[in-house]
Structure formats: C-alpha cells, structure tokens
Symmetry: D2
Subunit: 336 residues, 4 copies
C-alpha cells in the first residue's frame, strides 16, 4: 500500500484473545502505526504479527500517541481511559466499563460504584446502529460479542417499533470459548468443554442484560423484557444469538425481510442471508462481519439467527471500525 | 449374574448409531438373549459387544423370537412392524412410523400415506409420561431424542396445565451429530461440523413438531403452539432442549420446582438438578438418564434446560426401558 | 451383586481425572467398600458415583482402612505412601514416586533427592509383564499412560530379545488432554488445544524415558536407546504409542505376530488386532483395555501401534487391576 | 491495488477443499483474473469469494485462458492437463497424476497405466527445493501435503547428504480431515473422527511413499528407505510430519541447525523455529507457510517436526507459488 500519514496507536491488554486479534488487524491497517502493545503477563515477549515486544502497562508513555485501545478487565479499563483522556489520546474501550449510560445502572449490574462516573455517558460503539454519534468522537465504548450480535439481530424491528411490548424478547445465545478469556480457568479447561454444552447465567442474571436492554430501549422504549441465556460452545470462536420475538398485531412477518433489507443492504459488514439459508458460525468466523437469517414462524412470530466472530465483529474488528469512524478513515479499512 | 429365563430378542438396523447402542445395552441385559442383529450394509461383519455377525434383513427368521427392536428408516420400519406382528413378536419401533396417532397426521408431517394405517395408534413409549399404557403391551412406538427431551422438560407443567394457552412454547434445541445417522452426508462431514453450529428446519418446519404437539395436547389440550428450532452441535452425542414458557397468571414460578419434584422424585432415570446448577451434556452423555434444570426468570417466565444422550434416553436406552415394561422386567434393567 | 466380605478402600487425589475414574470403577467393585475420597481442593463437595463427600487429606483417618490409592502429585505421593505403610494399609501409588528402582535413578530424572528412598524398589504394577511380582504385595507402583502403552506395545519383542541392540526404539506418542491433569494451565486451555497438535519434551527429555528404559532393560538388557516424543492431542481421553523398531537379522517380521499371540492371547485386557486392522483410540476409550496392531514394514522393520485410555489402562483401571492381584480378587473384577 | 495487466486463470475442481482455498487466494491475487471455477457437482451455485458461478467442466472454454489449476481426482487430472496443453494454457496440476517421473513408477504405485505418459516428466512444484526448474515453465506438478511437509523437513539433510544410508527415514505423519476430500465417506463422518486418532496405510503402503522417495533420491541417491505412517487427526486443517533420522558418523547433530538456517533463512514461506520451540499446527494453519523445529536427540539421532496447512502450503498456496514462478510474478504474491 502506498505510504501515507499514519496515526500512532497503542493497545492495552494486547495479549488477551481480543487483544491478539486487534493487533493482527492493526498490523495491516494502512493508516495506523502500532507503537506499543501492553501486557503485564507477557512483557518482554514478541508480539505476533509485529516487530514489537510486549511492554508492561506502567512502562507505556502516551506522549505522541493518537489513540489507544483498551482490551482490559472491567474496572481496570476505566482507570486507563481516564488517564489516556488526560494524555490527549482518543480511546476505544473494549471493556464493559463505559457502556452503561449512568453510574446508577453500572452499579446495578456490576455491584460496585463506577470508578470514573465523570466519563459517562460515552457513545456506544455499534456503528450500524449508532454511526452518527461515533464520527469524530474522542472516546467510544465498543460493545462486546453478546450485545453486538443480539442488537444487530433485533435492530430493524426495534427501530421500526414492530415488537409487541407485552412479550419478552427471548435470546438463546451460544459462544465459543475464547469469549471467556485467555486466563486458564476450570470452565475453560479442554477436558471440561470438549463434547459438552453448558448454559450459564440464564434468564436475567447475566451482566449484559442491562446493557442490551439499555440499547434496546433507546430504539424502542416500549419493547418487552429481555430473556437471555448464554451457553458455552465447544468451539474456539463464533457466537450465535437465536432470537424469538412476537410482532404487534398490525404488522405481518412477511414484511419483516424488507425492514432488514432497508437496514442492512448498504452495510458492508452485515450480511442478510436468503430466506432459504440459516446463519451458521462458518458464515462469519475469522471475518469482521455479521450474518443474519430470518424465519417467519407464523404471521406474528419470528425466529432470527444472528452470528458474529466473538473476537472480531464482537470485539476487535468492531473496535477498529470505531477507530476508523473517529479518525475519518474509510469505515472498513483493514476489515474486509 | 445368575442364569435365568431369558427372552429371545432381535435388532433390525443394528449397525446404525442407535442400533449399536441398543446392542451394547442388550448384551448386558440379564433377561435378554440377543439372537440376531440385522444390517444389510454390514452383513457378515462382527457385531460389537457380541459373538454375532450381522445378517441381512431378509435372512432373519422370526420363529421363536419374542421381541424385535426396529432401528430402521421411517417407511421401512412400519413394514417390518407389520411382519413382526404377524410372526407373533413384540415390537419396539424406534422410527417415527408409529408415533403419530392417525394416518392423517402422519400424512400431514411426512407427506405420504402411512404404509400400515391399521397399526395406528400405537402406545407412545415415553415411560415417565405414559407408563400405564406401556406395561404388557405388544407394540410400542419409542420416541426419539427431540420429542423425549422436550417432553420431559415440559411434562410437569403440561400435566398441571400451568402454561398460558396464548403463548408459544419456545424450544431451542441442540443435537450431537450421531442424531443425523451413520450414513455419510455432506452435513455430517467432519470438516463441515468442526468449529460450527448450524440451525436447521427452524420454527415449525421440523417433522417432530407434529409429534411433540400431539403429545403436548394429550397432557394439556389448551397449550400454546410449539416453536422449535434444532441445531447441529459439534459433538458426537448429547441433546439439549432449551425451553422458554410463560405461566398462567394464577401460578407462580416459585412453585414450579415442587411440581417437578413431585413428577420426578421417584423416577430413576430423570434427575432434577439443584436450583444452583444448570443441566449440561456432561450430566447425561453415555447414560440412560435425563437431567433437567429450572430457572425462574420472572414470576411467570420460566427457562428450562432438559438434556439426554440422544442415542440412549433419546433412543436405545428408552427402547429397552419400554421392553422392560412390556415383559415385566424391572424397568431399569441394564440401564443403570 | 450378592453381599460379600469387602475390603475398606480409600482414594487420595480423588478429584483429579485419574481419581475420578478410580472412584467410578471402585463404586461398582463388588469386593470394595469405598470409605473415603480425599481432595483438598474439593473438600465438602459430593463425590460422583458415590454417597460420599470429599474430605481433606489431613482429615482422613487410616484406621481400619485396608488399602489406599494415591493419585497425587509426585513428591506428595511418596510421603503419603510412607504414612499409609506405617498405618498398615496396602498402597497402590499412581504417581511416579515409586516407579524408579533406585534413589539414584529417581534423582537423575526428577532432579531432586527421593523423599523416601527406604521404600524403593517397589514392584512395578504392569500385570501383563510383571504379574508374578504383584500377587499378594502390600505396595505397588502403578505405571502411567505413556510407560504402560509403550511397554505393552514392545513387551513380546523385548521378552524374546528380538530387537537389534544398535538401533533406537522410536516411540512417537500422542495423548489426550486429561493426561495433563485437571488443574487449569495455559497449555490445557480449550482455545489453545482446539484444532492443534503439539509435541513436547521431545527425544530424550521427557521424565518417562528413564522409567520406560528401566523396564525395557529388565526384559532385554541389550535393547537400544529409547527415542520418545509425546504430543498433546485435541481429544479428552486416549493415548497412542506409535512404535518403530528393527529386528535382529536372524529374526523375521513375519514371525512376530506369533510372539504377540503367545504373549497376549490369554490376557483379557490386551487385544491384538487382526493384520488388516490398525489400532485407534476408539478401540479403547472408556475401557480398561489396550489394543495393539502390527505392521510388517520389511523383513526387519516393524511398526506397532499400541493404544489405551490414558485414565483407565493408563492409570486407574490398571491400579484397580493391581489391587485385585494384591488381595486375590479375580484380576478383572470391575474392569470388564 | 493499482490496476495492472492480469493473466486469465481458471480452476478445475474448484468446489473441493483445495479448490475452495485456491479460489480464495486467487480472488485477492493482483495479477490474476479468475475467469472460471469448474465443478460438476456444484454447477450453477455461487463461488465463494467471487462473483462467479460454478460451471460444468465440459462447459468451460479454454480460449483466451492463460493458466489453469487442476484440483481434480487423479486419472481425471492428466486428461485435462493434456487438453489444456493443446489449448495453449499453462497448467498447475494439484493431483498426483504428473508427479511421478516415469510411467513405470506411476504404474507401480497407482496400479494402472498412466493415461498420458507423453506428459512425463513434469517439473516437481516444490519451489524451496526445485525453484530453478519451475521459473517460466508451462506445466508443473504441484506436490500435496504429505510429500511437501516431509520433504521440507528433510531437505537440508538430504542436500548435504548427511543421512546414514543404512538407516530408514521414519516419518510419523498426522493430517487434518480436509486432506481426505470433501466427498462424504464413512471415514470422514464427524462421529467417526471426533475424539479419535487413526493410522492408515502404514509402513510402505501409502501411495505417496513412491513420490517422496523419488524426490529424496534426487537429492541424495543413497538415502535409506522411507517408513511412512499417516494418521487421521480430529482437526479440520493442518499436517504434521514427525521425522526421525540418523546422521553419518562424520557429522554431528549440533551442526544441523546451521544447515537448516542456510537452506531456509531466505525462504519467506518456511520458518525455522528457535531451538526452544516445537512446531505445532497453530504455527501454520490458515497460512501459506511451513514451520520446522529440530531436536538433537543424540550426536547422531535427530527428531524433526515439520508442519503445514494441508490445504495451503500443502496444496493451493503452493500451487499459486508455482503460478507466480511460471509467470514471473513476485513469488509470494497473494501468499503473505
């Protein structure tokens, strides 16, 4: 690619699974010079896809850095966001720290006070839904895999306000194991996952319920409650949200496809599948896109399957998409 | 085990995945002498877990045979059931041929006339729900993995008639690949399944919808419509039905556990998990039992996870349980 | 099973993968009453397949206990063996602590002094090779998966002294992940193992080289050096040793099958496969047996594939086989 | 990428696993216009990564086509190579049809006469070994995954003639399932492969033994015989050759690394790993490169691990590398 002016970018949490994919994408981004990759655990080791070595977080100097990605644990991330803001860096936060609009809702779902309430609210980095509020911004909260995949699957119906308010929105979700992070845990031991399928935090107990409902309500204040059950799948990557909804009586499921076409036909990273096809993980794994299939169960009942790569459109790919919008680069740079 | 009088039993379709598990279970059944294992494809080869060799279906002689299991493709199975009945054999059919109560409903879901309408209706071989109609019978239609797992997950609520009739019963189901049969197909090629998750026949298009609704209606004639989406999981065995239902306003989800305890506390093959635990495939794979977990989402919304081994409680284990009831053996003989 | 006199048995390290399989086997052993299952990590939790709860190691009382299994980390295990001996218990040690015949060889391979040199040597618990020295013994060192599978694959050739001394014995081994233990580690994270295959400790650097060569030399003092490269396989269970050897010029590979038949025809837990068949993991996973296939590459070059379930014949199943020999029970009790 | 003159290229067998990867690579190749993708099975369906639809082989017109790739079954491929030659197309054949230098050796390993003996010999398309004979050629026989991975692992030792002639070269190889092709077969059924590991065609019975030895002998006419046992691994992609060799007494294993560095330091697609690291499938899967690790077992015994993605450096990536050499494009175009 021809030489051009590049912004200087750093990644915190660069050795986690999202961080690794982020570095891989940025390494081929024509408008980005990757200047550091921070990881306390792997400090000193080589960073894949680059000539860098991991540095400790405290050894990073932010002077002259244009933007930082935070792929850090929640709690830690808000602290670093505040520091980077002071240093004049643009911030794309991949953690959950900046996604809730108010300190009160953060406390409700995370059970402790927000460490930097003055930062809230931060624009919600789901470009297909919120693009207008991301262009040129200096801080973005990039959503993770469950909210992204669920919201993309529901967005056209929410925007049109076609869902029956009295009915729950039921989301049966399944995630690859990389979504649980790189730190070894009993639940991510190969022997425990192999040949298994496990629900966890079912119903309304998962923390992402609050975040997803917050965004649903912005689009349709009367939408019904979210029922959300995630499962751990025996695959490394990929996320599926299987969505069951009911339409208001005045709408007809046969008209829903047109809504989705209108919403997504111009979206380079969202693929609406033909009526004859169902979305599967293979449609999206190792890509930065989402795929959606629609099934008209009855006139008023719909089944929607929405899929992403949890580390790409569900994490690092989307974060780069946000960077592109912040700095005025073509939105899909390094993502196609 | 001490020598005792044994019945003479044969298996048709003995080389398929259900047939193989059936032979394995029967080989250690103290009241059974396995006298033949029929398979046109594998005729002449040795039958695992036995001293037999597979024989062609046409080479079987039913004289002196007390009971036959039919693990055959639908269509073929009804023919054999009729022949076996004439020969005086008790029949446990694992295919779908004898599960619909009327030729009309069979034609509706299978798109062709029933080959032996005079056989219908046949008792539905789900002992935990239908035990009284199975004891001593000569022909039983043993249900497969999707109906068994779904119906066990719903049974206490259906029997009590606690479900709100206006609401759909939503079942998001996931099956191991052995459920798709042993014959090689593009959809069961290792490379297609590995790392993937695929919905198929979503909504109300899967043939088992008719069968499951038929049995739901026997328990609760007013229950809402079934919405049923199966998925192919990248595991060899195991089936999960993730069920979302709404209660009538006069009932409270906090009382549901007592319903399930009443239904299943004396059932040796159904395990109701503690409130803190979610059912996973590992609870049941390579066993003949089912496991169920309950999540009270709200006062009226419930999430239920029901799991079986699709080849055991979802096929061959249940078929042997039916045999035991037909012949008066202890019901769990060879199954614990 | 009819009531009978039972010995009282306890398991240390009962929550590890080998310990879990050990408990499962013992739970159905007609001559064993399982009186405790010790696990510091899981103390207080229920023990699968039993009515017990895990107890802390220090809370165990050995009074009245006839035998203990030690499925403990090396180093810890020798300490407990010494204590159990003092308490009058028979000991089956599944760790590597008691497998080397001398403190010197232990120090060579484990880089520290043996904690209880007075216990050495202990009979090597591979019944098919060493049965005569196990009957009635009070302490046995049960070998693990790599030595068991390798030695069973080589035994008939070693005993006959047919191998050319100048040639290395090359063993390319592959193990399921449960062999690496239940404690979460980066190397056993699902995402790291899924879709991968990794050699480790290649050549002569793995600790089991010393142990395997020690036993090889007992059978054939002139045998060549062992070259041994283990690999981590993306499966939960199963171990394959792929063995390449050269015969002395006076022997012919066409006569080797007769050697193996003579060695194994009467062994209930070792299956010599037909010349047309190759041993695979499916031959043995979840069984207590081994399977072996022979390939005559040339007149003097042989390829041997030997497989076991690493947790069964490669660990707990073999340990129970040793117990049976120690106490005079039929050798395969609870193992078929 | 800036517009430039492009050659017109077609792919036969474009719907198989190698064909699919080939199309994916060619779709982003700046010097290639993909003009057809032939597949009798999938004719009419869309071709992934392109705007094309599959056409039947007989419907292809070769006029104006500069080069064709043949990812066809052996036998069929030679026929098409002859036709394409007549039509004036350059040919890169991915089948085994053109790899043997003489009709006699083809008949020896494939048990039937070569369909087009006049085509033989064809340059062997392994650029790291045979680059000088590939530049500017009009027909190349691109080797498959087993020969490529094995020969790259051995090449520096063969070229230097350091291997002891009297000793066999032992290769224990493991392949992902895509190597067995896309057509469903019992051996590639998910349930058969999942959790399993299977040797096949062990010793000297696999057809690739002849091809590998042919190329070994060109480099070192005195090298010992090949002993080669492939295994089917439960992964979709990736191939490992685990190689065990013995050096002549006058050479020392401590000098081998320098040989490999000399051979591969300037090779962009072959990575020699540090002495502390072992080659794993993750080093190469979904890349067009190979990785090699060396273990000095003793002064004269070496263990070498060589890995590739069987569909990339082991098939389609290498075929494109050959195309680049034929037409004078930078050798790694579309491959890094």
């Amino acid at each position: 690619m021809a030489e051009q002016t590049k912004i200087r970018v750093g990644v915190y949490g660069a050795s986690g699974y999202a961080g690794l994919d982020l570095v891989e994408i940025l390494a081929k981004h024509g408008h980005v010079e990757l200047v550091f990759a921070a990881s306390n655990t792997f400090a000193g080791q080589t960073v894949p896809h680059t000539d860098l070595r991991y540095v400790k977080m405290d050894d990073v100097t932010l002077e002259g850095v244009d933007a930082v990605f935070l792929a850090l644990p929640h709690g830690v991330s808000a602290e670093m966001a505040a520091k980077a803001q002071v240093a004049g860096c643009a911030v794309i936060d991949l953690s959950a720290d900046l996604r809730m609009d108010t300190p009160e809702s953060y406390r409700e779902w995370y059970s402790h006070a927000h460490p930097h309430p003055e930062l809230l609210p931060v624009p919600y980095g789901l470009p297909e839904i919120n693009r207008a509020h991301l262009v040129g911004k200096r801080m973005i909260a990039a959503p993770g895999c469950y909210p992204t995949t669920t919201l993309l699957g529901l967005y056209p119906l929410l925007k049109a306000r076609w869902l029956l308010p009295e009915r729950p929105v039921i989301v049966d979700a399944k995630s690859g194991v990389s979504g649980a992070g790189r730190e070894p845990k009993p639940t991510t031991h190969f022997v425990e996952v192999f040949g298994n399928l496990s629900p966890y935090n079912p119903g309304r107990s998962h923390r992402h319920v609050g975040e997803i409902e917050q965004e649903m309500h912005k689009l349709d204040p009367n939408v019904g409650m979210l029922v959300f059950t995630p499962h751990l799948l025996p695959v490394d990557r990929g996320l599926m949200a299987s969505i069951y909804v009911e339409l208001k009586p005045e709408y007809d499921s046969r008209d829903v496809r047109a809504l989705y076409e209108a919403a997504y036909d111009q979206e380079p990273l969202v693929q609406l599948l033909a009526a004859s096809e169902q979305a599967t993980l293979k449609h999206v794994v190792r890509t930065n896109g989402a795929a959606i299939s629609l099934t008209l169960v009855t006139r008023h009942l719909l089944h929607i399957t929405s899929v992403t790569d949890n580390l790409r459109k569900g994490a690092s790919g989307q974060a780069v998409q946000c960077l592109n919008l912040m700095f005025g680069f073509p939105e899909t740079t390094a993502l196609l």
